[in-house]
């Protein structure tokens, strides 16, 4: 048994291949992103201008005792205005950059999400059986969200940071060679300290996340399991287990506080030490007359531009790692093949009233070693009802899934009006077939939504007609909001019988040509039982139907009965024929009559 959550453990290597796969989604917005890069470059230039202005203000008007006072003040005002323009311009550019990245990045994310969601609705049932809904939902929501980081942090910011570090270094070299050399010599040390401690701190953080997740999961459990705990009087034991987890989390937290305090202190200390070094080397140069004080201040301020990207280097790496892990998971899902495979050559299957259904030597296997269906052949003429009986595991439900191509045969063929269903257009095929499962799945929404399955082209009158036909109109009318009554948590507020009636209405509202039905086992709810029988009779009238039957009345009324065992049809014929044959079916009837 493979662990369905296995791929959550993906660590996230930086693989540039994923960027290539992301490209088709980014492509429509490439101009916008190019604009983002342009804005970044422009704001970088502005950032460089600020210290330059300051230097000239210091070396110029502030230090020219011989010049005219009015001229000096006027010049100073110009520098001030320049500085203001630079900062306000920088702020505006930053604002524009924020909006433009979001405008484009969020659209890319939306497109990826749309594509992934679409893809997941189109992959086969067996894929969904292997992948729990909760996991797929996480992929569609938070993993797709993380892809944004791949673009924003991964490409744009990284490019910009590299540009910035490189650009500042070049400028520094132009300003003053010895000081620049000093910077180049010390920066790697600071980066090393930053990366080293960031890594330790990150490890400690990961420990916190892991333990906190455990503790929070246990919190959920002890709330959800409160009846169980109470029933067996295990309050103390539960409390003790919680205490262990709580203790472990706190210990991990204290550990991060240690690492983080050390990390912040040491990185700051290293940066401070470097600036003090700059002061020493720069100061001696100024005193020796080889450097102007303003130049020194400019150098100092440029150096400050370096500290932010250097400090955040470790952080960005982590964000990127997580983003790449998400990319891997998302693209892994996109690699799952669609089922049925998209194929443009298929013929439409127009509605034409009751259809003719033929199973021709059909075989099916999930795993070739253990076939589920074997050489199953039968025909249903238009309007006929085929009842299928047999023990659990005989392949009855699998057989029903083949007609609408929820699964595909592995041998033989299923034909609708003479056409192999695999050659028909999927949408028109499925539009002709309606399905009633034993346990109906209700969506959150209203009764109306659930009957017409969110199809606004089906008006309320048609919905009422369908409800009327199956005898569900009464109970819907009794609901406080009628058709608009809310359905919550998969319909837990409706009884099993009521849900069945809604399922019949849902199937009939589209006026299908073929009905596929897994009859619910009878519960004790007598009132809905009588209704269900009536609904069934109406539903089958004039339609071709395949029914896995659990009621004798259904079987008796069927045009043909298939008795299945271990994937094979062991008997088939009408009720009278099979009774006369005194075989398996007759024995079933005898058993049903016995001791009741």
């Amino acid at each position: 048994m493979t662990d369905p959550y296995q791929d959550d453990a993906i660590e996230g290597r930086i693989q540039f291949g994923f960027l290539a796969r992301l490209w088709p989604f980014v492509r429509p917005y490439r101009r916008g992103f190019a604009g983002c890069l342009g804005l970044l470059a422009a704001s970088f230039v502005l950032e460089l201008l600020g210290p330059w202005l300051l230097r000239h203000a210091i070396d110029g008007p502030m230090r020219a005792p011989d010049a005219d006072r009015g001229d000096r003040l006027r010049e100073l005002a110009w520098y001030g205005a320049g500085f203001l323009a630079v900062t306000v311009g920088g702020a505006l550019l930053g604002y524009a950059y924020g909006l433009l990245t979001a405008w484009n990045g969020q659209r890319v994310i939306r497109d990826v999400r749309r594509h992934l969601f679409d893809h997941l609705l189109g992959v086969g049932l067996s894929f969904h059986e292997r992948n729990p809904a909760g996991k797929l939902t996480t992929r569609v929501t938070s993993d797709v969200e993380n892809l944004n980081e791949l673009i924003a942090t991964g490409v744009l910011q990284s490019v910009f940071d590299l540009l910035k570090i490189g650009g500042v270094l070049v400028v520094l070299f132009f300003l003053d060679l010895p000081l620049a050399l000093f910077t180049v010599a010390t920066t790697p040390v600071v980066i090393a300290i930053s990366v080293l401690f960031r890594r330790n701190a990150q490890r400690a953080y990961r420990a916190v996340r892991g333990r906190l997740a455990l503790q929070n999961a246990y919190t959920t459990e002890l709330i959800g399991g409160v009846r169980t705990t109470r029933a067996y009087g295990k309050e103390t034991a539960v409390l003790q287990r919680y205490a262990e987890r709580n203790q472990a989390t706190t210990a991990a937290w204290l550990d991060t506080v240690l690492h983080f305090s050390v990390f912040f202190s040491l990185v700051d200390l290293a940066l401070r030490a470097t600036t003090i070094g700059l002061l020493w080397f720069g100061g001696t140069a100024v005193l020796a007359g080889t450097l102007q004080p303003g130049q020194f201040v400019q150098f100092w301020l440029y150096y400050a531009l370096l500290t932010a990207p250097v400090r955040e280097l470790g952080e960005k790496y982590n964000v990127l790692q997580a983003a790449f892990a998400s990319a891997e998971r998302v693209f892994h899902l996109l690699d799952a093949p669609r089922f049925p495979p998209p194929d443009g050559r298929r013929r439409p299957s127009p509605r034409r009233g009751a259809a003719r259904v033929e199973f021709d030597r059909v075989g099916f296997a999930y795993d070739p070693a253990t076939p589920v269906l074997h050489e199953v052949s039968f025909q249903a003429e238009p309007g006929q009802t085929i009842a299928i009986v047999g023990p659990t595991g005989a392949g009855k439900t699998t057989l029903l899934a083949l007609l609408a191509r929820l699964r595909d045969v592995t041998a033989g063929a299923v034909r609708l009006d003479g056409d192999d269903v695999r050659e028909l257009d999927l949408a028109s095929l499925r539009a002709r077939i309606a399905f009633v499962a034993q346990d109906l799945f209700l969506f959150t929404g209203t009764v109306l939504d659930n009957v017409r399955l969110f199809d606004p082209t089906i008006d309320e009158a048609r919905v009422w007609t369908a409800l009327e036909t199956v005898g569900a109109a009464d109970f819907v009318r009794r609901l406080p909001q009628g058709l608009r009554a809310p359905v919550e948590e998969r319909g837990s507020t409706f009884s099993q019988g009521e849900r069945q009636l809604l399922a019949f209405a849902r199937a009939l509202v589209t006026e299908p040509d073929v009905l596929v039905l897994d009859e619910a086992t009878a519960s004790i709810d007598s009132e809905s039982e009588a209704r269900l029988q009536q609904a069934l009779r109406v539903a089958l009238r004039g339609r071709t139907a395949l029914v896995v039957a659990h009621r004798l009345s259904t079987v008796r009324d069927a045009d043909r009965i298939l008795v299945m065992e271990q994937g094979r049809i062991v008997e088939s014929g009408s009720h009278t024929e099979l009774v006369a044959r005194r075989g398996a079916y007759a024995r079933m009837l005898a058993k049903a009559a016995a001791d009741a």
């Binding site: 210091i58 502030m62 003040l73 100073l76 002890l222 067996y232 989390t249 200390l269």
Partner: protein
């Protein structure tokens, strides 16, 4: 407006309990708070030194002064980092210790609250009080002391230092920062509102996706993929719009604070530069001034952040205290030896807050060792009856008696030690199969294998990766519904209680296995009282007494033979089920 006294009282209500817990770590708090002003003082000294150094450079003084300044700066840098480290480590540690104790006390309290209270509360809400709310309160107990204390030191001292250098520029800077601060106060709530909207929007996406994946059969079979796609597009659009709005607000905030610093620098250059030109201020002093400005921006941001967080922390404190204020269920009462004789007499029961009675006038008696069957549609009251026997809820006085004692007089734990309940939707802990089966007993569990075999769980063991040591996943997700039910049954059997309450326990188990399990149970019952609620009437047929419930009322009562003879609800349903079972069976030829 609240009167001062009640204001004071509600603050005490929100933070009194965590503050009392913090008092246990006074030593840490004292050491931490001592170093907060030390750090502030050192930070404020540095710009002065740098400014002096710059003036010194401009004046071209001796190199020894520069050397001395550099060494002093290095010492100060060490002191700055050291004091920061100590205060952070002590104060944050203390807050984490408070958090731990608060969570522990909360969980201990939860363990004693009545089940009826849990029914009324949403588990998501409870969970968020135990996690997010505690975290918010912790913020007040540590980070607030650290950052708030540091802000309280830096803002006035820095302001005073700046004012002592140049009053007009300081006032101008204060004014501009004031504008920024006001802007933040306006934008922050909006930011909060839109981030909530964005979260709601992604929540809707998540909920719809989850349902579509869970109901993928319906989605594919009815060909509604296109419609779902459209529905998702609407949700995606809403999310996109909320996010863009959020980004706009964030970028605006960012741009504001960025340009504010530009405006302040302009003021400094113009006014300060003017004085430099006039010789009233040196370039170094100007530099020193900007150093203070830079130092004060962070505390200002923290102040804004704190003001935004405090109301939330207060609300969180109140929510936590609300939990502590819920009265626990009584832990007292008689605990006589009980054998499990049951008498229920005219029992009517309405759930707290319910509008319709769940049970109406139910009466029956059951001797120890007898079997009672409960039949009836969903919502007819079967589970309610069993829950009342466990005293998950209090029945009216004088209606439910065990061995002649009114259950209201018995200690709840004594009553619960009498029965083991296996519900239709059992709760499994994300632990091993063995630990889940052995939940009720002491370790190591004696008779584990026998219980596993009796619940027919042994037939599944080969499918499990590590047999009984297999982890079942959250709520047992890796097991099938039937397997979960059988684990819960094995748990009940292993607990060796004199009475067994099976609440549709085997509904997801195939009929054949169910019959085998119940047959075995019957043979090894050894005088256990058995109460079985089931939709499969065949398993009730051998009960000493069967109650057929409908809308809380007993509509038919008697043993199988009597009910069949009656030809009512029970008899009709029994025949239908028998029929269905026959169609699902394939009797051997000649049997």
């Amino acid at each position: 407006m609240l009167r001062p006294l009640s204001w004071h009282r509600s603050i005490a209500r929100a933070f009194g309990r965590p503050a009392a817990l913090l008092r246990r770590h006074l030593g840490l708090v004292f050491v931490g708070m001592f170093f907060v002003p030390v750090h502030a003082a050192v930070s404020l000294w540095m710009p002065r030194l740098l400014g002096d150094a710059l003036d010194h450079l401009q004046a071209g003084g001796p190199v020894e002064v520069l050397e001395r300044t550099c060494w002093l700066l290095l010492v100060l840098a060490l002191l700055e980092s050291g004091s920061r480290y100590v205060s952070r480590k002590t104060l944050i540690d203390a807050s984490r210790l408070v958090e731990r104790q608060l969570k522990q006390d909360l969980v201990a309290h939860l363990q004693r609250l009545p089940i009826a209270w849990f029914d009324r509360s949403r588990s998501g809400d409870l969970h968020s009080r135990l996690t997010q709310d505690v975290e918010l309160v912790r913020f007040v107990m540590g980070p607030l002391l650290l950052h708030g204390g540091s802000t309280l030191c830096l803002l006035p001292a820095g302001g005073w230092l700046m004012a002592s250098m140049d009053v007009p520029v300081t006032l101008a800077a204060v004014a501009v920062f004031g504008v920024l601060f006001a802007g933040m106060r306006v934008l922050m709530p909006r930011l909060h509102r839109w981030s909530k909207k964005s979260q709601e929007a992604i929540g809707e996406i998540s909920q719809r996706a989850q349902e579509d994946f869970a109901g993928i059969r319906v989605v594919q079979q009815f060909g509604i993929v296109d419609r779902e796609r459209a529905a998702m597009a609407t949700r995606n659009r809403r999310y996109l719009l909320a996010n863009l709005r959020l980004v706009r607000l964030r970028s605006l905030l960012h741009a504001m604070s960025h340009s504010t610093s530009g405006v302040v620098m302009l003021g400094v250059l113009l006014v300060g530069g003017h004085q430099v030109v006039d010789g009233a201020l040196t370039v170094g002093q100007l530099f020193q001034f900007t150093g203070y400005l830079a130092l004060l921006t962070l505390p200002l941001e923290i102040l804004g952040w704190t003001l935004a967080t405090m109301p939330r922390a207060y609300a969180a404190g109140i929510r936590i205290e609300e939990l502590f204020e819920v009265a626990p269920e009584p832990g007292s009462g008689d605990a006589p030896p009980l054998s499990g004789g049951l008498r229920v007499q005219g029992l009517s029961f309405t759930y707290p807050g319910g509008d319709r009675p769940a049970l109406r006038d139910v009466s029956f008696a059951l001797a120890p060792g007898q079997k009672l069957g409960l039949a009836g549609p969903v919502g007819s009251g079967k589970s309610t009856l069993l829950a009342l026997l466990m005293r998950f809820y209090d029945p009216p006085r004088g209606t439910v008696f065990v061995d002649g004692h009114d259950v209201l007089d018995l200690r709840p734990s004594a009553l619960r030690a009498l029965f083991a309940l296996a519900p239709q939707e059992p709760f499994l802990f994300s632990d091993t199969v063995a630990a889940n089966v052995g939940f009720a007993g002491a370790e190591p569990a004696v008779g584990l294998d026998a219980a596993v075999a009796a619940a027919a769980l042994d037939q599944d063991l080969p499918q499990f990766r590590d047999g009984l040591q297999t982890i079942v996943g959250e709520r047992g997700v890796t097991l099938s519904g039937g397997q979960r039910q059988r684990v819960s049954l094995a748990r009940a059997l292993l607990s060796e209680r004199p009475g067994l309450l099976l609440d549709d326990t085997l509904s997801a188990v195939d009929p054949l296995t169910e019959r085998r399990i119940l047959g075995g149970l019957e043979r090894q019952r050894r005088g256990r009282t058995l109460l079985v609620a089931s939709h499969r009437l065949s398993v009730l047929a051998d009960a000493d007494q069967i109650l057929v419930l409908d809308q809380g009322r007993v509509v038919e009562q008697g043993d199988h033979r009597r009910l069949m003879a009656l030809g009512g609800l029970y008899a009709q349903a029994f025949r239908r089920q028998h029929e269905a079972a026959a169609l699902e069976s394939l009797p051997e030829a000649g049997s």
